[in-house]
Symmetry: C2
Subunit: 138 residues, 2 copies
Amino acid sequence: METPACTEAEAHESESEQPFDVFARACPSRETLEHVTGRWGSLTVGALREGPCRFNELRRRVEGVSEKMLSQTLHALERDGIVNREAQPTNPPRVDYELTPLGIEVADRLLALIHHLEGNMSAVLTARATYDETRGGR
Amino acid sequence: METPACTEAEAHESESEQPFDVFARACPSRETLEHVTGRWGSLTVGALREGPCRFNELRRRVEGVSEKMLSQTLHALERDGIVNREAQPTNPPRVDYELTPLGIEVADRLLALIHHLEGNMSAVLTARATYDETRGGR
DNA sequence: CAGCATCCAGCTTGATACTG
DNA sequence: CAGTATCAAGCTGGATGCTG
């Protein structure tokens, strides 16, 4: 079997040529990927997969997020068409956030990754211990 | 190692109580998720899915990454047991990086997300245009 | 409740230079 | 080639205060 070491030029064209390539420096898909997988983006999208949610409820689901960061994250996701914002002009105000159809597809793939990672954390922790031991904790 | 609050017995399918929960503030799985989905982590893991790769080759695959960030990213991934580093004490030095079995599983889920996003970028771009238009382009 | 504006500490990042 | 060391700059993100 041929070992496919890096063939620089067409390394990531395993499939038909795609118009958007995250590995390319200037591709907008990289920005969207970062919005979705970012520190708070991934948790926000994951939390919204459980159903529509109001702002402060979301803050409770995603432990540790500040309102500023949640607000910022939500705006980026809304702009990318991942999240839908529904505000009711009532008093007190009520705003519900929910995933768009695209957002649901993205969330499912993200959650597959998250759950896989969660299910393998003992292996990760073991690997870390081994690594730290080998390197003497440097 | 310390005894985790729970066991990782059936982490995958269990939805009620999971031993590791990224949504919890102090869960180590959140760190690993960030290593994997981080700005350079996701691209590095994705690039390595193509096969083993040397340091500078990897730099070329992941456009825009500095050597410092790549080095740092690889260390974090190696420590988490996602990436395996194989150094040969030759001259000039040759070091190959490759995904571990766990890394491959993680990469496949990550790539599913990436490819899905790449395939829907036109919708994202449209959503952005609409959003910017509605908000007066601010 | 739902959020925006501001301040600012500190972490992240990119250049640059240097080692084996 | 495969990194490490160092430093300045800039961005991130938390705390606080205010609005509708």
